[in-house]
Assembly symmetry: C3
Homo-oligomer: 236 residues x 3
């Protein structure tokens, strides 16, 4: 049998009520930091899935499914067509842009090839922006075929339900060029025009930028800073 000295008892007490919690606190803080880092990675994955799904749904004329990828006040702006707000307006705009029907019709080609994502994830993993490359393969069998070239500068939000959605999709169309001609033989002003859909079904807001399209220099502003210097990137 032994007796513990006062010192020993104090040591035991402090060890019990401090040492373990200190370890735990450090681990907790490390785990919390890791969770945030993992959330940022997961958010980046979620955003890529969202935008690629948008391409795949529009490909097949699934306008409602495409619109369901947006937030309540989500916006879409394509070329010179102006800004449409909210899922219902977005679905109707997409439908009219492609002939007015659900799905595609016989011979309609509408491949929204969606490429080269550069995602800038917010520090808190709740919002993000992304630049994407658009390469559209469009046309109607026995009638016309086109390549489309463009840049997306989009924004995304993670809702209170933990789900990421598109808050703003902005496709800066550089040109839509007849397949037979290629981009060197466009006629002036042929590469980009306001769609008939936009004229018959006007947008909620006008264009958010002054458009210049090929052969003029298209200038989709970079939302994200330079990944190395951290500086704002401006076109000249």
């Amino acid at each position: 049998m032994i007796h513990l000295s006062k010192w020993s008892a104090a040591l035991i007490a402090s060890a019990l009520f401090a040492a373990a919690p200190v370890h735990a606190q450090t681990a907790e803080r490390q785990i919390d930091e890791l969770v945030l880092r993992v959330e940022r990675l997961e958010g980046t994955r979620a955003i890529k899935k969202l935008q690629r799904a948008f391409g795949y749904y529009v490909d097949r004329g699934l306008w409602g499914e495409a619109a369901d990828l947006f937030t309540d006040n989500g916006t879409i702006e394509i070329g010179m067509d102006g800004v449409y707000v909210g899922r219902e307006r977005i679905a109707e705009y997409l439908r009219r842009l492609h002939g007015g029907q659900e799905g595609l019709i016989y011979g309609q080609l509408n491949e929204w090839v969606t490429l080269q994502p550069a995602i800038a994830m917010g520090a808190d993993a709740r919002s993000a922006t992304a630049r994407w490359r658009d390469l559209g393969m469009l046309g109607q069998y026995k009638d016309h075929a086109e390549w489309r070239d463009g840049i997306y500068e989009n924004a995304y939000e993670r809702g209170a339900d933990g789900i990421w959605r598109i808050s703003a999709l902005h496709l800066f169309v550089n040109f839509v060029v007849p397949y037979e001609k290629g981009w060197a033989r466009l006629r002036e002003g042929e590469g980009l025009a306001r769609s008939e859909a936009s004229q018959a079904f006007p947008p909620d807001r006008g264009s958010s930028s002054d458009y210049a399209a090929f052969p003029a220099r298209e200038m989709p502003p970079f939302q994200a800073p330079h990944p190395v210097t951290g500086k704002r990137v401006q076109e000249r």
Copy 2:
């Protein structure tokens, strides 16, 4: 010298054998959850590497390397060619599909541009599906050149060895169109045909779906649910 009361001793005992473990258990559970989340992210990375490697290997006529990306009972199905099962059959099918030799021949172009991955990772990080866009640049110098347009709906598994492999590759070819014509000027029935390789070297199973290809509406079913609504996505 002090004596510990019964209460103090019990407190010490419970602290020793409960408090630290409680912290540890919480941390352990958090760490286990994080490990699974990281495994799902790593799995997504691994799958993208697999499928892109498939493209790069087929590009250069490395049929064995391409087949080695599959599970033991892995399957490949391209267009109307039917289903080939297992690495040996896959390698031989790919070889015959490209002229029968190892590597490519002089003037053969075979770029399997593999794009736009939308990966649906299983909750346990052991299986996944993915939709991809195919944009093939094909041809033979001084003879013919083509664009190919298609959609992959594939499946992947993580083996007991921790390595991800392709369990099912299914390329729904929408068209293979002569470069000079573009997709508006295909002849009816020209966009998709059963290959000579498949006719001379029959598949293990027939086609898994009724094919419609451009100018008819190609319908590669979506394996993954909608990323926001969680509902099944069906073409119309």
Copy 3:
């Protein structure tokens, strides 16, 4: 009041000075491992952003911003042009390759579509290599239009500042083909040539490989091993 037996006291002591730290050590080790795994995932993300940013900056004639993505001794090698070393030389080379001015001129198209990343991340998350697909859309309005086809085999490093940079960019150009002709109707030797920029502004080092370009078989060596077998991949 109780007295603790010698055994109890020893148990308390060992529990205090071993048990909690053992839990902590295990958790610490698990957390350290997770941090490294997360760093590898974050590094993969960072590298994709770097290379895609390179494409987007070169697209718009932002030569300085493109060069700022490289390490101090970073290198660039495009087609048969030889190797340029360091950010200043890289910026000047890119500028001269595109006409000598900042930005693009009216009617200049220069889309460096950057696709299909297969990233091999180092075990320590400090260096990596990647293979990418290049699909260039090039030209000058009313003059010429081209498709470019190529493969990047690049290397990346994470600096002491934690920032990833490109240490070596090597674009193996397979062909640059006039849009009107397509790849089957190139003239022999037309698909790849040393640029006028490289001739007027010689590189720091000559080409690092013997080039064969389409219609000959282009052979960009695979830096990364096979993702399933782990073996080195060699073209035949």
